[in-house]
Symmetry: C2
C-alpha cells in the first residue's frame, strides 16, 4: 500500500519533470541538477560556477531548494543572476512541480544554464527527476571514501560526480581511486571531477564539462 502510493507520486513527478525538460529544450536552457550531503559544497560550487560562466558568456540562473531558510539564495543573489529559493517546509527533496512553479518568475530567454540545487540529502532527492539534463553529485573529502558504496542509487543515477574539498586530502586518509572505481562500477558513463571550491583547483574542468555537455545536448557547434 505504502509502496503503491510512493510509485504513483513518483510517476506523476516524472510526468511533470518531462514537461519541465520540454520547456528547457524549447528555450535552449541546459538544466543541471545539483545534489549532495549537507555541507558538501553545493552552493560554493555554484558561486564559483556563476562567476566563471559569465566570463565565457554563458548566462547562469539558479533555483535553490532548502528546508527552512533562504541562506543559499542570499549567497547567490550577490551575483547579477536570476535566482530563486524554493523552501520545502521540512520536505527532504525537491519535486518537479516546485521547479515548474518557481520558473514562472524567471525570464527564460535570458538563461543559458539553469542550476537546480536540491536540499542537502544524499538519499531522497535521488528518486525525483526535476527535468534536468545533467545530474551532478557534489561529494566532499571530509565525508569519507565509503559514501559511493553506502549510497549507491544516488551515484548510479548521476551523470557526474564533483569530488570537492580535495585540499582536505592532506588532513585525513581518503583513497580517491576507491569511490571513483565504485561509481564507475555502478555507472560506467559517470564523469568524475576532482576540485576544491576554496582554492579554485579543478573549477576550469567543471566549467568546460558544462560547456561541452550543453553543446552536445543542443547540437551546438563551436
Amino acid at each position: 500500500m505504502q509502496i503503491q502510493i510512493y510509485e504513483n507520486i513518483l510517476k506523476s513527478n516524472d510526468y511533470l519533470a518531462e514537461e519541465n525538460q520540454a520547456l528547457f529544450n524549447r528555450e535552449s536552457i541546459f538544466a543541471v541538477g545539483i545534489l549532495g550531503s549537507p555541507g558538501a559544497g553545493k552552493t560554493t560550487l555554484l558561486e564559483r560556477s556563476v562567476a566563471e560562466l559569465e566570463k565565457i558568456h554563458l548566462r547562469p540562473a539558479v533555483l535553490v531548494g532548502d528546508l527552512a531558510t533562504s541562506r543559499d539564495a542570499e549567497r547567490l543573489q550577490q551575483y547579477d543572476i536570476q535566482c530563486a529559493q524554493i523552501t520545502t517546509g521540512g520536505a527532504c527533496h525537491l519535486e518537479a512541480q516546485q521547479v515548474n512553479k518557481a520558473l514562472k518568475d524567471f525570464d527564460l530567454s535570458q538563461i543559458d544554464i539553469l542550476f537546480i540545487e536540491n536540499v542537502g540529502n544524499l538519499v531522497c532527492p535521488t528518486g525525483f527527476k526535476l527535468g534536468e539534463h545533467l545530474r551532478t553529485v557534489v561529494f566532499s573529502v571530509p565525508e569519507g571514501d565509503e559514501k559511493v558504496i553506502k549510497y549507491p542509487a544516488t551515484f548510479q543515477k548521476a551523470n557526474c560526480v564533483v569530488l570537492n574539498k580535495i585540499d582536505y586530502l592532506e588532513l585525513q586518509e581518503f583513497d580517491i581511486e576507491k569511490p571513483k572505481r565504485e561509481a564507475q562500477a555502478l555507472n560506467p558513463n559517470i564523469v568524475w571531477l576532482n576540485c576544491s571550491c576554496r582554492t579554485g583547483k579543478g573549477i576550469d574542468e567543471w566549467i568546460n564539462y558544462l560547456k561541452i555537455s550543453k553543446e552536445k545536448q543542443f547540437n551546438e557547434s563551436n
Copy 2:
C-alpha cells in the same frame, strides 16, 4: 491525502516506539539514537564510545541503519559487543518496527547502553521516534556553521549535539558559537559537546554525559 497518510505512518511508528521504550525500561537499557549527515562521524563516535564504556563497565550494544551495505556494522564487530545491521533497502530513515525486529536477536540482559545509529541523513530520521531515551545529532565542522539554522527540526528534537572534527577548525572558517547559540534558541535544554573522534578530544565529556543521563533516567545512585 499525502499528508494524511504520512500522519498515520508517524502515529503507528510512535506507538511502536513507545513499545520499544517500555522494553528498554524493563531491561534497564539506556537507548541512545544517533543521527547526522553522511560522513559526520557517527560510526567513528560509536567506535570510540564502545571502547570507553567498557572501561567503566557499561556494556554497550549497537544497531546500525544503512541503505545498502553492512560496512558500519563490520567496523563495530571488531569490538566484543552485540551489534546488528538494519539495511533499509534505500529508505532514508529507520523506523521503530525495524528496531524492534532487530532486537529479537539480542540478549537484552547483557546491555546497559544501546546505540541506534540512523541512516546518514540530516532530514528524514527526525520525524521517526525509535524508542530512544536520548537523541544525539553528530554534526561536523567541515559541514559548515550554517547547518543548525538550515535543518532546524533536527536540532530542535535532539537532546544533544556532538560537534565532531574540531581538529578541522584550523583549516577553515567556522564560528562554533553561532550554531550553538542557534541550537539553544531552538531548544534551550540542548546539550552541546565539542569533540574530535580522531584525536579523542572531548570523548571523556561525551562518555560522562551518557553515564549521567543513564543514571538520571533510571534513578540510579552512584
